[in-house]
């Protein structure tokens, strides 16, 4: 995270290249001296890094223990992992996991993340898999380092390993307290030279076993995140802060309407701007390059260019979107999933409900627009970036510019949040392209309107649901049909699908097929049909409505419809919505990973934590005055993580304004590495869900996106923040035969059920069911007025 932590490994690698004759056993020690002398200077760390290294940049070998762990002469350790942390505390959690396996105190260690030349390629971040998947090889290599150190210690102390104990990196004899040796005395400043095994990075292992949970000392502790102090005192060097000698500034000029073709550019319109360097264009990609940042911004605003609009409208206007989706012929359909005989069950049902739900396109709209700095000096390409998938950016840029992979590296640094936006890091490719064209370092940052209009979008969905209840009010049949605009879902840093490649006309012959997501149904519904279709827009390429991964890419949409409809069924059955769900879970047969039992546990825990949950059906009886209060519950899972959320809302009948006043969440992601960091992630995931429930929507006419800033694209603000948030970490694995509770992911699960919980709470408060998000006050007011008449 903090770039100064990149010094030791990066410089020792540099030293090895500068002086290849340095013996493997001692160069670490000499590089330690070099680190010290450079560390004293006032030059920002990353700048020294940039000048010290000139490539080539071979892949760090994940099968070498030295790639992952270095023990320093002062008996501290540095861990190197191939993940990125957008502020959810995974770096701190990884450190805790590795400390425990290595038997070192947290304070004795540091962690370096995500740069393609210094850390093993673990793919960067995505899919909430950091703790669940990538934490395992980290634990295993740390356990292996401990095993190797114990063997070395046994040799040094002339004591069998079985008679040794380790604490804080000090090995001591169980029988003779005077006999001890620390890790540094064994390998400090030297290499382990231990080869690991494993067919891929996730399978990396030594021969040591990882520890059982009961022996863990650092895991489970609420340790403060190491990256926070530098983020609040102004000392952190962010990716956007990087400067290299001779650096130029660029800004993009996007087509004024989607699908427009560039006819001509009048370079004289900007030539008189001080510091103007060049206009670069290729196909429909256009950028201006200047000496200074504000000059590039001015030039991009001022550049005169002639564009030819497309013959056909690229998409319908957002007001017509859902009519369009419902009337379109799908471009593909997935095989329906069928359980039982829904048709027959509907025939015998005493009550049949039907409903349609609509979810618009929603964007990432990161607080900091996309950024990259590319430096082509020394016949290589270094990209300073906050790309969450930095390794993919490195590979993609190498292909895009036809450079050998080992001449390209990505230096990962902190940047704005990463919920999938930088999985396809358009700006990294743009900076590299411009740097390659100009032969000088080029810094690019998108402008606000560009980021909000042209970032990748979460797919829009239209849903149709039908449910049947029997005489007891039991759900006996359910049909779910989703239509997603997810044609040409963008890939991960692909050199032919990033925006610049699309605009240059360099793209694959076929679009990606995409798919409409299904709910992961844990409920026991005897007769069930799930169907999904993909609908395409007229324009698949060069469009600002590019779909990509946005925080659990389809989960919030699907859960809004599914958990909203379950709530409708509970109300129709005259049942309490929590009790209705508990009974559906109890009726479930599925229990491969004890998700059913754990799901029941989170639902019960949420209700208990809520306090005073009265068993009653929704809606609540109408209340006097304009403010109507209500509660809404929703449950969901993602992978093996299960969550139940209750939202308390206040709806103003006169204005339509909705305030989510309180949130209660029960969350089970298995073993909690850092309960404090976990609660932080769960909390912010929920608030992001509120923002999507109440505010966020991509709006467009039939040629361009019209929601382009924080006025036209509102987001949750301070005034609408809940006044209370209660999070219960359930972490209960009911399997008594499994002593080790696995650690599952938590980055997205709590985000997923929020839109449903808010809609269900609005219904409870008002008796009005909102099936089209977001629930901005105008839409709510209209629905309330319609219901009254």
């Amino acid at each position: 995270m903090n770039t100064k932590f990149q010094f030791p490994k990066a410089l020792e690698d540099a030293l090895r290249r500068i002086n290849p004759s340095t013996s493997r056993r001692n160069f670490l020690a000499s590089s330690g001296a070099l680190v010290l002398s450079l560390g004293i200077g006032s030059v920002p760390g990353a700048r020294v890094l940039a000048q010290a290294l000139d490539g080539p940049y071979p892949d760090p070998d994940f099968l070498q223990l030295d790639t992952w762990i270095i023990i320093h002469p002062d008996n501290t350790a540095t861990f190197f992992v191939g993940k990125t942390d957008g502020g959810q505390g995974t770096g701190t959690a990884f450190r805790q996991m590795m400390c425990d396996e290595l038997d070192m105190a947290y304070e004795q260690t540091r962690l370096v993340m995500g740069s393609s030349d210094t850390t093993p390629d673990q793919g960067g971040s995505g899919g909430s898999d950091a703790i669940e998947t990538d934490g395992w090889p980290m634990r295993r290599v740390a356990a292996e380092a401990r095993r190797v150190l114990l063997e070395l210690g046994a040799e040094r102390l002339k004591t069998p390993v079985t008679e040794l104990t380790v604490s804080n990196g000090i090995i001591s004899s169980l029988k003779d307290a005077t006999k001890s040796v620390n890790y540094a005395e064994l390998v400090g400043g030297q290499r382990f030279d231990v080869t690991l095994t494993g067919r891929n990075v996730n399978a990396t292992t030594g021969t040591a076993a990882v520890k059982p949970v009961k022996e863990m000392r650092v895991i489970g502790k609420p340790i403060q995140r190491y990256d926070i102090p530098a983020k609040v005192d102004g000392s952190l060097t962010w990716a956007v802060d990087m400067k290299v000698p001779g650096m130029l500034h660029a800004r993009n000029v996007r087509p004024p309407v989607a699908g427009a073709s560039l006819r001509s550019i009048d370079e004289t319109s900007v030539a008189s701007i001080a510091g103007f360097v060049q206009v670069v264009s290729r196909g429909n990609y256009v950028a201006v390059v200047c000496e200074r940042e504000e000059q590039a911004i001015q030039a991009a605003q001022q550049l005169k260019a002639e564009w030819i609009p497309p013959a056909q409208a690229p998409f319908p206007a957002s007001n017509d979107l859902f009519n369009y989706i419902r009337s379109a012929i799908p471009t593909s359909s997935s095989d329906p999933r069928l359980t039982g005989d829904p048709t027959a069950a509907f025939t015998s049902a005493v009550q049949v409900l039907e409903a349609e739900y609509d979810m618009p396109f929603q964007g990432h709209t990161a607080i900091g627009p996309a950024f990259a700095l590319a430096d082509p000096s020394n016949n290589q390409m270094t990209i300073y970036s906050n790309d969450m998938k930095s390794y993919g950016l490195r590979n993609g840029v190498a292909q895009f510019l036809d450079l050998p992979r080992d001449r390209v590296r990505v230096v990962y640094m902190d940047g704005p949040q990463v919920y999938g936006r930088t999985a396809s890091d358009d700006v990294g490719f743009e900076a590299a392209f411009l740097a390659n064209e100009l032969g000088r370092p080029v810094r690019v940052q998108w402008m606000r309107h560009e980021e909000t209009a042209w970032d990748t979008k979460g797919p829009a969905y239209a849903f149709k649901l039908r449910g049947g209840l029997d005489t007891n009010g039991t759900l006996v049949a359910l049909e779910y049909e989703a239509r997603a605009i997810d044609y040409n879902h963008i890939g991960y840093n692909e050199p032919d699908t990033v925006l610049i490649a699309q605009l240059m006309g360099r793209r694959p012959e076929r679009t990606a097929a995409g798919a409409a997501a299904m709910p992961s149904v844990m409920y026991g519904i005897p007769n069930l049909l799930l169907a999904g279709h993909v609908v395409s827009l007229p324009m698949a390429w060069e469009t600002p409505l590019r779909t990509g991964n946005l925080r659990d890419p389809d989960g919030p949409q699907v859960t809004f419809a599914f958990e909203g409809f379950i709530d409708e069924l509970a109300a129709a059955a005259g049942r309490d919505p929590a009790e209705f769900r508990l009974e559906l879970l109890e009726a479930s047969l599925e229990d491969d990973t004890f998700r059913r039992a754990r799901s029941l546990a989170v639902l019960r825990s949420a209700v208990e934590a809520y306090g005073g949950w009265d068993n009653r059906p929704a809606p609540k009886p109408q209340q006097p005055g304009p403010i109507q209060s209500g509660r809404g519950i929703a449950y969901t899972s993602r992978s093996n993580t299960v969550v139940a959320v209750i939202a308390d809302v206040e709806v103003n009948r006169d204005t339509g304004h909705v305030w989510v006043k309180r949130l209660v969440c029960a969350h089970d992601c298995g073993l909690a590495i850092n309960p404090m960091g976990l609660k932080h992630t769960v909390e912010c995931g929920m608030l992001h869900g509120i923002s999507r429930a109440l505010w966020e929507e991509v709006q467009f006419d039939n040629e361009k996106v019209t929601s382009v800033d924080w006025v036209s694209h509102p987001s949750l603000r301070h005034s609408d923040t809940p006044e209370a948030i209660d999070i219960v970490l359930v972490n209960g694995d009911p399997n008594p035969d499994r002593p080790d509770l696995p650690h599952y992911g938590a980055g997205e699960t709590s985000h997923k059920p929020l839109i449903a919980a808010v809609a269900n709470a609005i219904y409870d408060a008002t008796g009005v069911r909102l099936r089209r998000a977001p629930f901005r006050k105008e839409r709510v007011l209209e629905a309330l007025q319609t219901a009254r008449t």
Partner: protein
Amino acid sequence: MSVVSLNVNGAVHEVDIDPSTPLLYVLRNDLGLRGPRFGCGLGQCGSCTVIIGGVAVRSCQLPVVAVSGEVTTLEGLAQNGILHPLQQAWIDEQVPQCGYCQNGQIMTAKALLDRNSKPTDAEIREGMEGALCRCMTYFRIQAAIKRVVNGPELVQEKDQQNDLEAAV
């Protein structure tokens, strides 16, 4: 171009620059400061906030020539190596996720408390309204401000104790 004199965090700098240049780019690119950041360039999000004459100002919108008075940036809040109470509260409450907006949050909170040392919850919400966070750390930001206003609450210590008890 013309030479503009700027007092930033107590030090006077002379910069030869187009006087219409927004202050943000001078702070970042000429003076090497890293607190204020580009978020929107429209004065809508607060990421670029600095304090001038006790007022939180959006530096992305302010021509450098129009600056009068000392500019305080995030880097200027700590005194003699001691963090400002707001910065310490931001650590105690573990406020940031990505942290990109937090310059604006802290600087806006500083200006708020400088003019009203005992704001109510409603006044905190109102005073912070213009500072956007897309990681959605609002609840923690408000908790950190209340920590400075009221002192650390028992309930938070209890919460930490719960975390410890949740530890395996």
